[in-house]
């Protein structure tokens, strides 16, 4: 088997998922800098990230589950460490911070998001963990995906219904039987 990483997906989708992944950190910085002229730099993308997450949830609920038979499934929880730097940034700024300080924080935050978007590591979203989901990298028919699952994947031995979002993200779903 020739192992390959998950498909990268379009830049737009990665950007949206990146905003969703960093929405809590962006929200915290917006809260800390509330009243500053540059607050919008954090508030707008944080709101956009929350909107993306909400819309993603709607897409999953309304999506068409397909049966995937998974081969290897690897936990991606260690990737969450990459977010720690972003969560330290709110500590560095507050309402009395200078414009330069806030601009630096915005630049660092932008870089962190950009790196995650470029490397495609935008599916590891701390909010998902708060909602009881975990993120995995899994292969089905030798194709790699990021997998968001709630149940214990170690017990998955048969095909599992998942809703695909974008080029490389699968979200565990409940099996639905068609009503005639």
């Amino acid at each position: 088997m020739n192992a390959r990483p998950p498909r990268r997906g379009s830049l737009a989708v990665r950007l949206e998922l990146g905003l969703a992944a960093f929405a809590p950190a962006l929200g915290l910085i917006a809260f800390r800098t509330w009243g500053s002229q540059l607050t919008w730099l954090f508030a707008v993308p944080a709101a956009a990230g929350v909107a993306v997450l909400a819309w993603g949830a709607v897409l999953v609920v309304r999506g068409n589950p397909e049966p995937f038979v998974f081969g290897t499934i690897e936990d991606q929880s260690s990737e969450i460490v990459g977010h720690i730097g972003a969560y330290l940034l709110p500590v560095l700024v507050n309402t009395t911070s200078s414009t330069e300080d806030i601009a630096v924080v915005a630049t660092v935050m932008g870089l962190i998001v950009l790196i995650h978007v470029t490397t495609g590591r935008v599916h590891v979203n701390p909010l998902l963990y708060l909602l009881g989901r975990r993120v995995y990298e899994a292969t089905a028919d030798e194709t790699a995906y990021f997998l968001v699952a709630r149940s214990d994947v170690s017990e998955w031995t048969t095909s599992q219904p998942c809703v695909q979002v974008g080029a490389n993200l699968l979200v565990e779903s409940r099996p639905r039987v068609s009503r005639r």
Partner: protein
């Protein structure tokens, strides 16, 4: 190629699978016969709409009359072929792969669908899936002026492609069987995926190994067969039957005379001769499809052969 598939079991399988998850794939066929498949993501509503299309195909099978896919067979209204011979299924292996792995194909955005798409397919079921294939491009070209009715009373410009997924499917494929609902589309696909091109030489050799032909006649036969499904289907059957092993040119001449044909149009000297305009006579003779009615002396073509007393 008599079908031995239990049709009741086929219908039950389709019915059960259609209620299960479905996936939609679209494909373009390269000039070398490779089928490049992409997957279209569906909403739950769209999946239900496709299930209804699949049920319409199921209904056509339930109410239709099954026929075996023999070389001369032509589908009439409300008829369908049941193909279950290992050789044909092997030739359709590319669709078998699609049946089992459509969900892991690369995703294509609706906006990226273009005129190069040649077919779409629905795979239904959790496992042992059933594949519904339609040889058509689901994208409608923009209408003149690019306006469509929106709401009830006004026209508005349409910026996205409009799609048309017709309820009809050309064939349905399951584990060890294929139900062909549209013969023409099925045979065009058969040719487009390269089955004819890959096998034509072998099919012709099944004749020329025992009954020699000039190279120019072989070329003409090949040319005709590549574009005419009735020709390649008969060549394929001749090869499958393998009955020419002990046949001589004299026997062919005698058979031609017996059915009232001029033997010189089929055999010239020590070789078979092929005239594209007389291709069916040529193939009917070699496939033993011609016979004279013993009561009327009329010449008939047999479109299907079954061993008597079998």
């Amino acid at each position: 190629m008599a079908a031995s598939t239990d049709l009741t079991a086929v219908i039950e399988t389709i019915e059960a699978r259609v209620a299960e998850p479905v996936s939609l794939g679209v494909a373009r066929i390269e000039s070398d016969g490779r089928v490049i498949v992409s997957k279209l993501l569906l909403s739950d509503d769209a999946a239900d709409a496709f299930r209804e299309h699949c049920r319409a195909a199921l209904q056509a099978i339930e109410s239709g009359t099954p026929r075996s896919y023999s070389s001369g067979a032509e589908l009439a209204n409300d008829e369908f072929f049941v193909v279950d011979d290992a050789e044909t299924l092997a030739e359709l292996a590319i669709f078998g792969d699609l049946r089992s792995s459509i969900e892991t194909m690369p995703v294509i955005k609706p906006a990226d669908l273009d005129h190069t798409i040649q077919l779409y397919a629905i795979a239904a079921g959790n496992d042992h899936r059933v594949l519904f294939v339609c040889r058509t491009n689901p994208q409608l070209s923009y209408r003149a002026g690019r306006f469509l009715a929106i709401g009830r009373e006004r026209l508005a410009r349409v910026g996205d492609p409009a799609f048309s997924f017709s309820p009809g499917f050309d064939f349905v494929m399951g584990e060890g069987w294929v139900v062909v609902l549209d013969q023409r589309a099925f045979e065009m696909l058969f040719r487009e995926i390269g089955v004819v091109e890959q096998n034509i030489s072998q099919w012709i050799e099944a004749i020329t190994q025992h009954l020699p032909m000039d190279e120019s006649d072989v070329d003409q036969l090949r040319k005709v067969a590549l574009h005419d499904s009735r020709t390649w289907r008969r060549l394929r059957e001749i090869e499958h039957r393998g009955h020419l092993v002990d046949v001589t040119l004299d026997q062919v001449r005698t058979y031609a005379s017996l059915v009232g044909l001029d033997p010189d149009t089929v055999v010239a000297g020590d070789r078979l001769t092929f005239d594209p305009a007389q291709r069916f006579t040529f193939l009917h003779l070699l496939n033993e499809d011609l016979y004279k009615g013993q009561l009327t002396d009329e010449l008939f073509e047999a479109h299907r052969k079954t061993l008597a007393g079998g």
